[in-house]
């Protein structure tokens, strides 16, 4: 991983962090790996994707002018500012962001989200409710 990223990531610490993430993933999953080559492809790539996500502008709460204008016009008593909501969302843990995104944007059922996260449907529902409440508290 260090060898691979040496030319692309300027900060050596970042390269080492990514390498450590791959080792940790291996330590957690080595019993379930069928094809090490494909597993490495997926893990190296997704580790980089998470790095990319942390280091790029957060598109999820970049509003375009049209939306911003609509939002200002519709700023009613019964809704929070969308930009504020999206900023709060980004501060949540990855798992909570994922549940909220898959439920509201992806329109997935709780059962479908539960299968993806290897959790029970009840646990996902509970986490979803807690997350909405956490967002409410943070917005206050």
């Amino acid at each position: 991983m260090s060898k691979y990223r040496a030319g692309k990531i300027i900060n050596k610490d970042d390269a080492e962090d990514l390498t450590t993430s791959v080792y940790l993933a291996f330590a957690e999953q080595f019993e379930k790996i069928d094809n090490i080559e494909n597993w490495l492809r997926r893990v190296i790539f997704l580790t980089f994707v998470r790095f990319y996500k942390r280091n790029t502008t957060h598109r999820t709460y970049e509003l375009n002018e049209r939306t911003a204008a609509e939002n200002t016009n519709q700023q009613a008593e019964n809704s929070f500012d969308i930009e504020a909501i999206r900023k709060v969302l980004h501060e949540l843990s990855e798992e909570k962001q994922e549940i909220i995104q898959l439920r509201f944007w992806g329109e997935l059922k709780f059962q479908e989200i539960a299968e993806r996260l290897n959790k029970s449907e009840a646990a996902v529902k509970k986490m979803f409710y807690r997350t909405v409440e956490e967002i409410k508290d943070r917005l206050e």
């Binding site: 691979y4 996500k53 969308i82 909501i85 509201f104």
Partner: protein, 323 residues
């Protein structure tokens, strides 16, 4: 479940029964913080409806899904149409997809190279292990090896006799100079050629497709279609221990589609030879999937215009005509 959870459970429903509506109204008037939770829930719903961009991890998984590298495809099957629709209208997310797809191609290339580097040692270990096993297994091992050699030689002979020459290789050694046509200078195109040099055909396909998607309006893009077409054909080949070659029909058809696109886009008349080469490879590809009438059309063009593969096209035509 606390009362706020009950409110959220009811808000989640698209349609409430009269009884549920009564329960919700009662909860809303009884629970002190209920107004804020409704406000948060509605705002979240709005926030995901308006110009929401799926996050990088979802797009990254979509890249893996498109490259057939995702282990668990269930979520992506549910989100595929939504992501497709979004990428069609959102330039920002399309750029993220392009960046990540290129990144995946780099990972693929890097791993293929690294694994090649380590294989010789593995082979030495396997040979040594095999040697020691043979020592202990004695005669049975020799008998098994001899039987395998005989079976393999039999298959090799049968394959040589029954498989026609043009089906022995998708692209033969003397045709492999096809990509010396370095008529494009884009970075993606050059990286695609480098991947072909290393026989990393799947990576080359990704890079060339990306070149086409990114630079669709460039006048020299027909070169990318040409190389992509031939690379698809090259990558369609598989065999059992070097005998009885088979060809992936879907890849062959993708190859032909790209060669036809190259011919269609290369209409200036300046690079006629490239079109004739494209006709030759399209004709040969049709032969590989036994569509001889279509092969005939393309090969005749090569012969009548004396393309660089004129002789080979004539040989293939003779084979069609003698059947």
């Amino acid at each position: 479940m606390n009362e706020l959870d009950k409110i959220l459970e009811l808000l989640e429903k698209d349609v409430l029964s009269p009884d549920e509506q009564i329960v919700l109204d009662e909860l809303l008037s009884a629970v002190p913080d209920s107004g804020k939770i409704v406000k948060t829930f509605n705002s979240l719903k709005d926030s995901f409806g308006k110009d929401f961009h799926p996050d990088e991890v979802i797009i990254g998984e979509y890249v893996l899904y498109k490259n057939n590298m995702l282990d668990d495809k269930r979520t992506m099957l549910l989100l595929e149409n939504k992501i497709d629709d979004h990428l069609r209208i959102c330039d920002e997310c399309k750029k993220v997809f392009t960046d990540l797809n290129l990144e995946y191609a780099d990972v693929d290339l890097f791993l293929a190279d690294s694994i090649k580097e380590t294989k010789p040692n593995e082979e030495i270990q396997n040979i040594s292990a095999g040697f020691f096993r043979k020592l202990t297994a004695g005669k049975f091992a020799y008998a098994a090896v001899a039987a395998l050699v005989v079976i393999y030689l039999g298959m090799f002979a049968a394959s040589s006799v029954f498989v026609p020459d043009y089906k022995k290789h998708a692209i033969s050694e003397d045709e492999r100079s096809f990509y010396n046509t370095r008529g494009r200078t884009s970075e993606l195109f050059q990286r695609g050629l480098n991947a072909i040099d290393k026989k990393e055909y799947n990576s080359a396909i990704l890079l060339l497709e990306e070149d086409i998607n990114t630079n669709i309006n460039e006048s020299s893009i027909f070169y990318s279609h040409f190389i992509l077409g031939v690379t698809y054909i090259q990558s369609s080949e598989s065999s059992f221990l070097g005998t009885f070659k088979s060809f992936d029909k879907e890849k062959i058809e993708n190859g032909i589609t790209n060669l036809k696109k190259a011919i269609e886009l290369n209409s200036s008349g300046k690079y006629e030879n490239l079109n004739l080469d494209a006709h030759y490879f399209a004709g040969k590809a049709y032969m590989l999937i036994d569509e001889k009438d279509s092969a005939l059309e393309h090969l005749k063009i090569v012969v009548s215009n004396k393309g660089s593969y004129y002789k080979k096209a004539q040989e293939l035509l003779d084979k069609i005509n003698t059947r």
